[in-house]
Symmetry: C2
Subunit: 240 residues, 2 copies
Amino acid sequence: MDKSIFTQHISRQFNEELEDIVNRVMTMGGLVEQQLQDAVTALSEGDTELAERVVTRDYQVNAMEVDLDDECTHILARRQPTASDLRLVMAVIKTITDLERIGDEAERVGKMALHLLEQDRQASPMAEIGQLGEYVNRMLHNALDAFTRMDPEAAVKTAQMDINADSQYELIMRQLLKQMKEDPESIPRMMDIIWAVRSMERIGDRSRNICEYVIYFVKGKDVRHTSFEKMAEEATGDRR
Amino acid sequence: MDKSIFTQHISRQFNEELEDIVNRVMTMGGLVEQQLQDAVTALSEGDTELAERVVTRDYQVNAMEVDLDDECTHILARRQPTASDLRLVMAVIKTITDLERIGDEAERVGKMALHLLEQDRQASPMAEIGQLGEYVNRMLHNALDAFTRMDPEAAVKTAQMDINADSQYELIMRQLLKQMKEDPESIPRMMDIIWAVRSMERIGDRSRNICEYVIYFVKGKDVRHTSFEKMAEEATGDRR
C-alpha cells in the first residue's frame, strides 16, 4: 500500500488505524475475488465441490463487512477525522458495502452452478459465460488495485471496462433467449444460467462503484451518476 | 417526526441539522415511493406516459442521494458527532444508498413496462404481479415510517414482510416459466416481465435493509445477516 495517500498525523496510532482499515479492505477484497473466481470455475467446469465451498464461505464475507463497518464507526467517533481522512473512511464504508454485495452475487453464481449440476451432471454452459465471469473478475481486481494505490486514472480506466461487460452480457442474453425459443424444455436450465449471467453483469456495476469512491477520495468529487467523460475529467483534473 | 429521538444538544443548530437530514430522507423516500407506485401502475395498466415519467424522473432521486450524502459528510466533519448522533448519520448514509437503488429498480420496472407496451399495446401482465408491486410498496412505506419514528418493533414487523414477498415472487416465477414453456413465442415478452418481478423482489430486500438500520440506530446493534428471531430479540431488548 502506498502510505503517502495518508495525511501524516501527529498520532502515529491514528495513521496505523487508517492503514489497518485499508489493509482489511484488501483482505476482504481478496476473499471476494476468490469467491467470484471459484464460482465462475464451478459454473464453467461443473465442479460441485467448488460451488458448495463458495456458498458455505459467504458468511465470512458478511462477517468482514460487519467488523470493518464497526471499526470505521469507531474511528469516526474516536478520531473525528476531517478532510481527506474523513473521505478515506467514507470511501471504505461504501466500498465494503459493494464488496459484500459482490460476495452475494458470487454466492448466487455458485448456487446456480449447484442447481444446474443437480439437473444434469454433463451440463457445461457456453464458453462466453466463463469469459464474462473472468472479465468482471479482472474488473474487480483492477478496481481493488486502484483503491489500494488510490489511483484515480486507473479507477477511470477500470470503470470504463463496464461498457465492454455490458455488451458481452447483452450478447449472451440474446443467445440464451434464442436457445430457449428453440428448445422450450431447456427453459428451467436456461433461467439458472440467466441468473448467473445477470449476477456477473451486476458485479461489473459494483466494481465500477468502487472506482467512483477512489475518485471521490482523491479528488473530493462525487462522480456517481455522471458520464465516463465527466468522470475522466474529474480524475485527471488538479487535486483541490 | 418524533423529535425525542435526538439527543438535545447545546447547539440548537446541530439539532436542526440532524432534523433536517431526517426530513430530507423522508422527502427522498416519498419520491421513491411515488416512483415505485407509478411504475407498478404503468406496468399493470399499460400506461406509457406514466412509465416514461418514471424513467425521466429517476435523476431526481440520484441528485437527492448525492446532496444528502454530501450533507452527512459535512455534518461528520463540522460536528464530529459521537454515540447516537453518529449512529443517526450512519443510518441516514446507508438508508439513502438503499433508497437510491430502490429508485433504480423502480426505473427498471418502468422501462420494462415501456418495452412491453412497444411490443403489444394490449398486454396486461397477470394480476399477481401488480399485487406483489403493491405489497413491496407497502413494505417500503412501512420501512420509511419505522425510520421516521425510529421504531425498532415496527422495523422488525416490516422486515418480516419480506418472507411473504419472497413467496409471492416464487409463485409468480413458477407461473411465468410455465407460460414460457407452453408458448415459446412469448419468451421475449415474458423476460421483460421477469426482470420487472425480480426488481420488485429486490425492493423487498432493500426495504428490509432500511429496517435493519433503524434497529442499528436505536439499539446500537448490527442485525444484518442475522435471522428474524435474532432481529426481533435485539429490537425488543433493553436500550443499552
